[in-house]
């Protein structure tokens, strides 16, 4: 009786000794991430998701910030490469990193892009911008039918500089028109993607079109800037709908809690995008096949309590509810994309 048990224990011990190095060999030791703008809440939460996943997997994880400077981005990535990181993750500032993508390939360093595509990339983790706007547009259409008398005159507080944000706005209008066919884009302004520019631009735009009843922001700051301009003009929020995009930080949660018109958020779950980027880095490290675009999920959050499904807030810090977010099924392909492939 003891002999078979002893043999079994010996086999298990041998297997365990064999398994541990094999498992360790399949996990990169070090991942370097060059973000394009670490001071933005979206990227802070992307980094939060990356750090959490890297810690879970026992991977050393380092971050550098390009601060919207492509030269700084390339320099930081080259530093990581020369220091021998196993995998590199980059959020491209712009197409200026294409030569870097080529060099990483030549040196055999796996490279994952986050957020935006560039030519010759191996893979990118990003939400579908058009689809995100579209989902929110459909919800906005339903709201307009039920609460705004079927009227939809939209002010888009946009950012025409970036193709991703242009896609979101197009998606929003297309989604909206599936429910309200005569929905009109009354004002399309450049809010600069930040709250004070959005506020200033929206102030004049609202004076130009007094009959606007939907404010769409390509990110949370833009939506909040538009809403603050509305409030500053002394108007009531009674017949207004505000739709934000991103779910970047605490701002949208505060707005949904307290602003009567802020009813819909096109949430893009930055923590999840960071989490998925690390998983993709591990796959590339193990030379597994990955699609060109790994879609990170997005969802339209509707109503004052809608955010509670995906987040909890305590001590002015939000925490993602991984179970709920992981249950979201992203589409295999985007309806429309700006990717150069």
């Amino acid at each position: 009786m003891t002999k078979p048990l002893g043999q079994l224990l010996a086999i298990l011990a041998t297997l365990a000794v064999m398994m541990v190095p094999a498992w360790a060999a399949n996990m990169p030791r070090r991942i370097g991430y060059v973000t394009n703008y670490a001071t933005h809440e979206w990227y802070q939460n992307v980094i939060k998701g990356m750090k959490a996943r890297a810690a879970e997997l026992g991977i050393a994880f380092e971050v550098r910030d390009a601060n919207l400077d492509v030269n700084k981005e390339v320099s930081a990535a080259e530093d990581f490469m020369s220091q021998g990181v196993d995998v590199l993750i980059i959020t491209p500032v712009n197409e200026g990193i294409v030569p870097l993508v080529r060099r990483a390939k030549e040196q055999g360093i796996p490279l994952v892009l986050e957020g935006s595509p560039v030519k010759r990339m191996t893979t990118m983790v990003a939400t579908c911008d058009y689809d995100t706007g579209y989902l929110a547009g459909v919800e906005a259409g339903n709201y307009a039918m039920n609460h705004l008398g079927g009227m939809a005159k939209v002010m888009n507080v946009g950012l025409p500089l970036l193709s991703a944000t242009v896609l979101r706005a197009h998606g929003f209008m297309d989604g909206l028109r599936t429910i309200v066919p005569n929905a009109r884009l009354a004002n399309d302004i450049d809010g600069g993607g930040n709250p004070d520019t959005a506020l200033a631009a929206s102030t004049a735009a609202l004076a130009r079109n007094a009959d606007i009843n939907i404010i769409y922001g390509i990110n949370d700051s833009s939506a909040q800037g538009g809403l603050q301009a509305w409030k500053a003009s002394g108007r009531s929020q009674k017949n207004l709908l505000v739709v934000g995009t991103g779910g970047e930080g605490l701002g949208f949660i505060h707005s949904m809690n307290t602003e009567p018109a802020y009813k819909i958020e096109a949430a893009m779950f930055p923590e999840k995008e960071g989490f998925t980027a690390i998983d993709t880095a591990v796959k590339l490290f193990n030379k597994q096949s990955v699609p060109l675009h790994i879609v990170s999920p997005s969802a339209a959050i509707v109503g004052a309590d809608g955010w509670k499904k995906y987040y909890s807030v305590g001590e002015n810090v939000r925490t993602i509810k991984w179970d709920a977010v992981n249950r979201l099924t992203p589409p295999a392909n985007c309806m429309k994309t700006s990717a150069p492939f």
């Binding site: 809440e41 506020l199 631009a201 102030t203 609202l206 603050q228 500053a232």
Partner: protein, 326 residues
């Protein structure tokens, strides 16, 4: 002393400039208003005029201090960064204490503190104000993220905090009222007090001012602190408008302010300028900004058109000075 004040009142005076510059600016402003209103009748809607005045308020508040500084031949490029930081502090202290008054005081005093540090670096360490305040801007832009990487929300949702920017005093928006009070006070100080004459004197010829018994350093310290306090006040109003302290707010605001002041006829070399000119400069730039959106033009023109206007204004100023020299 009398000679130096007379000198300050003769060649580079506000009076002589006032005889020409405001007229040109008033005509320019009127032409702009007529042209835009031909393109869109919405321009003269009450809510649009209110919006323009509200936008002018923030620029005018800091612009009043900046005019005094520029006349004294100094400049403060840290006002935009100081605004953002002051707004963050005002929001944070309001959240911590539940008191809008304490939050407001903290934000404004922070701006004053930045002004004091700038003043010490410029007047004691003799670092040029251009360099010193660029350095201050960089320190503040980085420091605000050390303070908090995220926007500070109005956690207690105190309506009194948002009322600072969105409230009305009768038909007048609160920020416009605040800007008007500050403008009138600085106007009186500059035009009708000895202190105002000293500002011109120090900017025209600091050596002569010193020889006549003035203390240019002390006067500049006061002006830096006043400009800092006004930047803090603007930061408070901006945070109130956004209902949050935003670390990235106010980027480039210093250039808007300086552009308005220069457009108003204040010389970068010091010794010359008027607050009336600054008011007109602020109005012209904001009317252009508003008009571009009202007319549905490409918003990139919001940078291009004021740039052209400032070059033209500077050229007209040179022409006027040459004419005056003859």
């Amino acid at each position: 002393m009398r000679e130096i004040l007379q000198s300050a009142n003769s060649t580079p005076t506000p009076h002589r400039l006032g005889a020409n510059s405001p007229v040109v600016l008033i005509v320019l402003l009127a032409l702009l208003c007529i042209a835009i209103s031909i393109g869109s009748s919405r321009f003269y809607a009450i809510e649009n005029i209110t919006a323009i005045l509200r936008q002018c308020a923030l620029v005018l508040i800091i612009g009043s201090g900046m005019t005094l500084l520029l006349i004294a031949a100094e400049v403060d490029l840290s006002v935009g960064a100081s605004m953002a930081f002051a707004g963050m502090i005002a929001m944070d202290v309001t959240n911590q204490t539940g008191s809008v008054w304490l939050g407001a005081a903290a934000g404004i005093l922070f701006g004053g503190l930045v002004g004091l540090v700038n003043a010490i670096i410029v007047t004691r360490l003799k670092v040029k104000s251009l360099i010193a305040t660029i350095a201050a801007m960089m320190i503040l832009q980085g420091g605000v993220f050390l303070y908090s990487r995220q926007a500070i929300q109005n956690n207690n949702q105190l309506p009194a905090f948002t009322a600072i920017s969105t409230g009305f005093f009768g038909p007048v928006p609160v920020p416009v009222l605040i800007a008007a009070i500050i403008f009138i006070c600085t106007y009186i100080v500059l035009r009708h007090t000895l202190f105002g004459r000293y500002v011109y004197a120090v900017g025209s010829n600091p050596q002569a001012a010193r020889l006549s018994g003035l203390n240019p350093e002390r006067l500049k310290q006061i002006l830096f602190i006043v400009t800092g306090l006004l930047a803090g006040l603007s930061g408070l109003i901006l945070a109130s408008l956004m209902n949050a302290g935003q670390p990235t707010a106010g980027r480039g605001f210093e250039l808007t302010v300086i552009a308005a002041v220069i457009l108003g006829g204040t010389s970068l070399n010091g010794g010359r300028g008027t607050l009336l000119g600054t008011l007109l400069g602020v109005l012209i730039l904001q009317v252009i900004n508003d008009g571009i959106i009202i007319l549905g033009w490409d918003q990139e023109l919001q940078l291009v058109v004021p740039g052209i206007v400032i070059v033209l204004a500077a050229y007209l100023d040179i022409v006027r000075r040459r004419a005056g020299a003859r």
